[in-house]
């Protein structure tokens, strides 16, 4: 086994045992990046020298606490002071934030070593990472397939062994969907659990930062660090974070699990459905109570999301006007032309589409029919979950209707590509925690199972995910990449 192949907790053991050093781990990871990056293309920036410096610093301290010496990768919408943060957009191609996100600061303080910034769909808008202004990332399981998105770089890098864990952001499925397509573990916590400070906003009421990792234990451990109150984010609640790792006891005996019939219906690939049903049987074998339930407004989540998300985005992306940061149209003779010239050049098509969609949904005469109505539908969706959670501890469903699709395959067909998020969006609309873990393979590609929990009950989600993982070996199967 090479160091880059190991999980975070395995690396921690080696460091604690004095068997390896952070510098060796970082070198191993950098070598892996050098070896496979041409194929996977998950990094926008590799912070090679900075990473080696920090690793040596950590090694010099002599002991390894917390995440000391463990390499990490961050989605490129997470601001890192002094390190280029592009959101995979021409707009921010040269943007160097003068401030640090809370999540990256917490990991940095724990001693984790930033190795690079990861590719994504521009401003987190997309489901394939093909909307990156720079290049498309490829699925390590099949280089002709997409890794999913928008945190495609974060998922592909973990799957390809380029990084032991990464952070992504999830507004409508952007952690869970690429995690499913790349066969890794991806958790979106409850809205308000993790600080959004320093994370470039797409849709503020839906965005959450989460963890992509090789297994559930790593995921829980990293979440433990980034979760919890932050006075810099008014929506990041002051609520104690339980010890997630301590709760991983492998047992689901007596746990009440619902599977919503709407998530297994039309549009869901048969093998995906079968694999998730088999997983549910596994849970039954492990002593859980598994029953069918209903989330009747599920089909309305996606259309409502494509009004609310863009509406918020239309305001969030208004700060990109060429005045204070980002690119600027220097040919314009007046300020209005400078604004529109800058935005025309700086934004890609999907970003423009969503800005226009959101602008329209908020515009005079359409606000009530579109934006306000979508807020009401959001209430109905949240209420559906509340009802089911009166009787059940968790909800299990497929993460996505299909496995990863081909690069370029869904280009141009908006609704088809939006459908990738049909099973993940409702969870964001209700603000709930949801994890995707591998539950099998079909056609050589991984399939993800989604576990949805009650608000702020990530602990139960992790516990259930861990029990399944311990009783299966899907997480141990790695993609084979040809090494140069």
């Amino acid at each position: 086994m090479e160091l880059y192949e190991l999980t975070v907790h395995e690396l921690q053991e080696l460091l604690a045992g004095g068997i390896t050093s952070s510098a060796e781990i970082v070198k191993s990871v950098l070598a892996r990046i050098d070896a496979v990056e041409d194929q996977v293309k998950s990094f926008i920036t590799v912070t090679r020298e900075q990473a080696l410096d920090k690793a040596r610093q950590v090694d010099a301290q002599g002991s390894y606490q917390g995440l000391a010496g463990i390499p990490m990768g961050l989605k490129d919408n997470i601001c890192t002071r002094g390190v280029k943060t592009t959101c995979a957009s021409r707009m921010l191609a040269d943007f160097i934030p003068p401030y640090e996100s809370t999540v990256s600061r917490r990991l940095d303080q724990q001693g984790s070593v930033l190795v690079g910034k990861l590719n994504m769909d521009e401003f987190a808008m997309g489901s394939s990472t093909e909307n990156s202004a720079f290049f498309a990332t490829r699925n390590p399981w099949d280089l002709t397939k997409v890794p999913g998105g928008s945190s495609g770089g974060s998922a592909a890098a973990v799957a390809a062994g380029q990084i032991p864990f990464s952070l992504g952001s999830d507004t409508g499925g952007s952690i869970r969907q690429p995690a499913a397509y790349c066969g890794v573990v991806g958790m979106k916590p409850t809205y308000g659990r993790v600080s959004r400070w320093g994370v470039v906003a797409y849709a503020s009421s839906l965005d959450q930062v989460g963890v992509l990792s090789k297994d559930v234990r790593d995921n829980a451990m990293i979440m433990q660090i980034i979760a919890g109150h932050d006075p810099l984010d008014s929506n990041c609640v002051d609520l104690a974070v339980p010890d997630y790792v301590a709760g991983l006891d492998g047992s689901v005996r007596g746990m009440r699990i619902a599977y919503p019939r709407e998530y297994f219906g039309v549009g869901v690939n048969e093998s995906v459905r079968d694999l998730v049903m088999q997983a549910l049987k596994k849970y039954q074998e492990l002593g859980a109570i598994v029953e069918e339930a209903s989330l009747p407004h599920s089909e309305y989540a996606l259309p409502a999301y494509y009004l609310l998300g863009p509406a918020e985005a239309s305001a969030n992306l208004a700060c990109f006007d060429g005045v204070r940061f980002g690119c600027r149209d220097n040919t314009a003779e007046n300020v209005v032309d400078m604004f529109s010239g800058t935005r025309d050049h700086g934004f890609g098509d999907e970003v423009k589409r969503r800005i226009m969609l959101g602008t329209f949904a908020l515009s005079s005469g359409y606000y009530d029919a579109y934006y306000l109505n979508a807020l009401k539908v959001r209430r109905l969706i949240a209420n559906d979950f509340t009802k089911v959670f009166n009787d059940y501890d968790i909800i299990i469903a497929p993460t996505t209707p299909t496995t990863a699709f081909g690069l370029g395959e869904q280009r141009g067909d908006l609704l088809t590509i939006y459908m990738n998020d049909v099973l993940t969006v409702p969870v964001n609309m209700a603000g709930l925690p949801g994890i995707s873990i591998p539950c099998g393979f079909t056609g050589g590609l991984p399939v993800g199972m989604q576990i949805i929990g009650k608000a702020f009950d990530e602990a139960t989600v992790y516990k259930a995910a861990y029990a399944f993982e311990q009783n299966t070996d899907f997480h141990t199967i790695k993609p084979q990449l040809g090494v140069r």
Binding site: P97, G198, A201, D233, S234, A318, C319, R324
Partner: protein
């Protein structure tokens, strides 16, 4: 103004709330700092930065609301108002749209002795934009510079009902509003520094017509005088248009102080569509009755109460009481004087007379001048005990006003002590009388002017320091003793 038309005016006033820090970040709000030295990722609108509400802003907004007799709803929230402008870093302004912090209040104004009630529709919290610096005029400058020190400073926008019917009423409303905000301690209300800004909505309609005429919003009203002038100008423009049958457009206009006229700010752009929607980064605000009661209990004495007190406790006329309660500093000055000196009316006279004249002359606020209540009281006592005359007192006051010295110091330094010594005055009087036999004759023949001539001469000779009563007494004696 033509008697056939009625002017309808509503005012939108932006008052900067008196906080140490901005509404959503911890940057200083101090006025006059070097450009962009009071900014951070939050108030400069950087991606990923998030707002956190300053509690003091809400406290002050509630306080202002109570001073303006507003209702404070149990729930309010923030919204984003979307528009692009180079001084607006986020591309939206965080404001309050459908659930403001204060609604439905009023202000009573005094128009030629008549009380008039002007409705306050609402007051809401919002963030200020940055400052654009042009080379000369906004319409001709080749480029502009953006300073974001002011971006994110907390404002309270107070919107009146269209209840005012003349420029004078609008001015009275703004003066009263300013006084209320000053007394409530919520804003410095310095129009020159922009901590109180006023936009006027003006329309004109034929008397008796129910519907409002075409409304124009006038911006850039930086003084009470500008407000009055701009309304008068705009009303006249509307009336002329109505007379001529020219079309009026609903538009935003700016007051040109130099040319004393309003100008259209309309560009080729179409009408605004602000696309307000709830600010997702800020949880809603719930203001409990206990919170409101706490603020109410801590509310300082307001001008109306103070005016009442001055009339009842000190027996001052309504006119005096009104003038002495224009600003909290004026009232405080009076209150401090009257604690030490029993004659309230005399204090009032000096404050409204000589002191006020000096303030106007030097364009100062009462707090800016060197004159202290203590010094004024000492001076009044010196008049009472005959050390100085009332006339000399005016000179002393002006000196105190300019230098901040005590009256004793000034009198001593300038030798202004009143001459109340008959032994000093008598020879002087005898000399002057002796030198003017013709005037003595006039006196004897009963010409009243003669007496005045002698007093004048004596005062001149003593540089005004002679005790006038004693001079009169002695002069009479000397003249009557002459056969």
């Amino acid at each position: 103004m033509s008697p056939d038309y009625e002017i309808v005016i509503g005012l939108e006033v932006h008052a900067e709330l008196k906080t140490q820090t901005k509404i959503f970040c911890s940057c200083s709000t101090a006025f006059g700092a070097e450009p962009n030295t009071q900014t951070c990722p939050i108030c400069a609108g950087f991606p990923g930065a998030l707002p956190v509400l300053n509690r003091q802003v809400v406290d002050l907004a509630i306080r202002a609301g109570l001073a303006l007799h507003c209702e404070i709803p149990a729930m309010c929230k923030f919204d984003r108002k979307n528009y692009f402008y180079p001084d607006l870093p986020h591309g939206y302004q965080v404001s309050q749209f459908d659930f403001p912090v204060c609604k439905q209040g009023y202000l009573d104004i005094d128009i030629e002795g008549q009380k008039k009630r002007v409705g306050v529709t609402r007051a809401h919290m919002e963030e200020d934009a940055g400052k654009l610096v042009h080379q000369g005029d906004i319409t001709t400058t080749p480029f502009s510079l953006v300073d974001l020190n002011r971006s994110g400073v907390a404002l309270l926008e107070i919107v009146s009902e269209p209840d005012m019917r003349s420029a004078q009423e609008a001015r009275a409303y703004l003066e009263k509003l300013r006084s209320m905000l000053l007394f409530a301690g919520v804003s410095d209300c310095k129009m020159q520094e922009g901590s109180l800004r006023c936009d006027a909505n003006v329309s004109v309609r034929p008397f008796g017509q129910q519907e409002f005429g075409t409304r124009c919003e006038i911006k850039n009203l930086n003084s009470f005088r500008a407000l009055e002038r701009a309304i008068e100008y705009e009303a006249k423009r509307h009336m002329e248009a109505l007379e001529d049958g020219t079309e009026l457009f609903q538009e935003t206009r700016t007051w040109d102080e130099e040319k004393q006229m309003t100008r259209s700010m309309r560009s080729k752009e179409e009408a605004h569509d602000y696309r307000y929607f709830p600010e997702p980064d800020l949880p809603p605000l719930f203001i409990s009755r206990e919170w409101v009661d706490e603020v109410r209990a801590a509310l300082p004495e307001m001008p109306e109460q103070a005016q009442q007190r001055l009339m009842e406790v000190y027996g001052l006329p309504e006119y005096d009481a009104a003038l002495l309660t224009l600003t909290p500093e004026t009232l405080d000055f009076f209150d401090r004087c009257v604690q030490e000196y029993p004659d309230a009316k005399t204090i009032a006279n000096w404050m409204m007379g000589e002191f006020s004249r000096l303030l106007n002359q030097t364009n100062q606020e009462i707090g800016d001048s060197h004159l202290t209540p203590d010094h004024l009281v000492q001076m009044l006592r010196l008049v009472d005990d005959g050390t100085i005359s009332g006339k000399i007192a005016k000179t002393v006051l002006e000196d105190m006003f300019n230098s901040g010295q005590s009256p004793q110091e000034i009198i001593k330094a300038k030798g202004l002590v009143q001459i109340s010594d008959a032994d000093t005055l008598l020879p002087l009087i005898e000399d002057i009388v002796g030198a003017n036999p013709k005037v003595v004759e006039d006196y004897k023949s009963g010409k009243g002017k003669a007496m005045g001539f002698f007093v004048g001469q004596i005062m001149k000779a003593t540089k005004g320091q002679a005790n006038p009563a004693l001079v009169n007494e002695l002069l009479k004696k000397v003249l009557d003793s002459i056969q």
